[in-house]
Structure formats: structure tokens, C-alpha cells
């Protein structure tokens, strides 16, 4: 395979990877928002921990996207 074809293939692959990671960021945002709505249903002392976990997951999803953008 010539270097040009390989480069084009890698760029296309990178695009699909970033697109997939972008979709996952949306999913992580949905989980974060849904956790807030669930917390309205049940008030419990453990809820701040769950909100932190959901927020951490969302930030991690964005971080992986940025990492992929930089190093791939």
C-alpha cells in the first residue's frame, strides 16, 4: 500500500474514531443529566457521590476525545 493511501486511510479512521468519541460524550452528558432527574425522584444522602461520579465520567469522556484529537 502506498504511503498516500495509508495516510488517507488513517485520516478517515481517525475521523470515525473522533465521531464515535463525540457520540459517547453525548451519552455521558445524558447519564449526567438523567442522574440529576433521578435525584429529584429520591432524596438520599448518597446522591452527591453519584453526581460526582456522573460528572467525572462526563469530563473523562471529553478528555479522551481531546486526547484522541491531539495524539492520533
Amino acid at each position: 500500500m502506498s504511503p498516500d493511501v495509508t495516510n488517507i486511510a488513517l485520516i478517515v479512521f481517525k475521523f470515525f474514531v473522533l465521531f464515535g468519541f463525540g457520540l459517547y460524550i453525548v451519552f455521558a452528558a445524558v447519564i449526567f443529566r438523567q442522574e440529576q432527574l433521578m435525584a429529584n425522584v429520591l432524596e438520599e444522602s448518597f446522591e452527591p457521590v453519584l453526581r460526582f461520579a456522573a460528572g467525572l465520567h462526563f469530563i473523562a469522556a471529553i478528555s479522551v476525545f481531546l486526547l484522541a484529537l491531539l495524539i492520533l
Binding site: 459517547y24 447519564i31 425522584v41 448518597f46 492520533l72
Partner: protein
Amino acid sequence: MPTVFEEKKKGKILRDPSVFERTIMTPLTSFALSPEGVRFETQEDEEEVVLFLRQHLVVLLGPLLLVVFLALAPVSFFPLLSRFLVLPITIPVNYIIVGTAFWYIVTFGFALMSFLRWFFNIYVVTNRRIVDIDFVHLLYKEFSEARLDKIQDITYKSSGIFSVFFDFGDAYVQTAGGNIPNIEFLTVPHPAKVVKAISELLEKQKSSL
């Protein structure tokens, strides 16, 4: 003449039974009589939670095992697989780094989602009604309630070796009237105690009328 000394009367100290029986909630509580610090959506001011239920912890066993497998796969399963599979191309290191990071984030997301579904799927018995809040999946919530005076029948079912060993089962609350849904407590701990608690509540309500 003023009393100088009065002998303390010996006997049982009577406590308010409702206070004595209160259960302190933890993140993994799945059965709680008169729980402390719990309020749910649409709970009225004078309404008290008598019984709080979630599904038995055993339902988290499957997701937990899967999470453990997913967490260990990049360090154990994949290196083993790469020895036996002969790939036509070499995967660049930066793709391995990003792929591994994404793998662990997806694993964490799956664990979080499984826990959230278990944590917020609750069954509540109050001094006025029975409430069933189900999150079938993250974006679908089902809220069912039945007033105590509409309850006709309560039964429970517990079958299989695991349900006998871990004491969990299904409790069914049949209601009067076509518009009021029957309430099902699925895979709850101590189903016999659940039925007993609801029966006692119904008797108490009938005797107060």
C-alpha cells in the same frame, strides 16, 4: 415535707417503637423499615415511609462480574489474544493508549449506569399508599401508586436455590378497580417480611377507621 430521696423504680424503659425501629440508610440498603433521611417524589407532608425497598443486591452480581472482566481484559485477555492472532498491520502505540483509555471509560460508564438503575428503582410503602418507581432504562421512568384502601390482596413468590439461599423473591399487590395498576415488587429481599409489613399496615388502617 420535701422529698429528699426517691428510689428509682426498676422496670423496662418504654421507648417509642417507631423511633427504636428506624433504619439508618446506606448506599447498598435494599430493605429498610422506617428508614431515616429518605424522601421521594410526590411524598406528602404527613406521609411517612414505613418500608423502603430496592431489588436484592444479587441483581448487581452479573454487572459486577462483567465490570471486573472488562477491567482486567486490557491487561490479561488482550495481550494473550495478540500472541495468537497474527495481524497484517502493527497497531500504533498512540491508538493503543487512546483505545485503552476509552475502554476503561466505557467500563466505568457501564458500571455507573448499572448502579444508577438499581439505586433509583425503588419500592416504597407509606402509611397512605404503595409506590413503585421504575427506571426501565435511563430515559424511561414508570411511576405507579396504589392507595392502601384500594389493596385487595398481597402475595409473594420465592423459587429456586438462589432465592432460598439469599432470601429474595417477588411480592405482588393486587388492587381493586381496573384503572389502578397492580404493583409488583420484583426480586426484593425478605418477601415474607414485605407481605407481613403491608398486612400489618392494612390492619392498622382498618382498625383506625
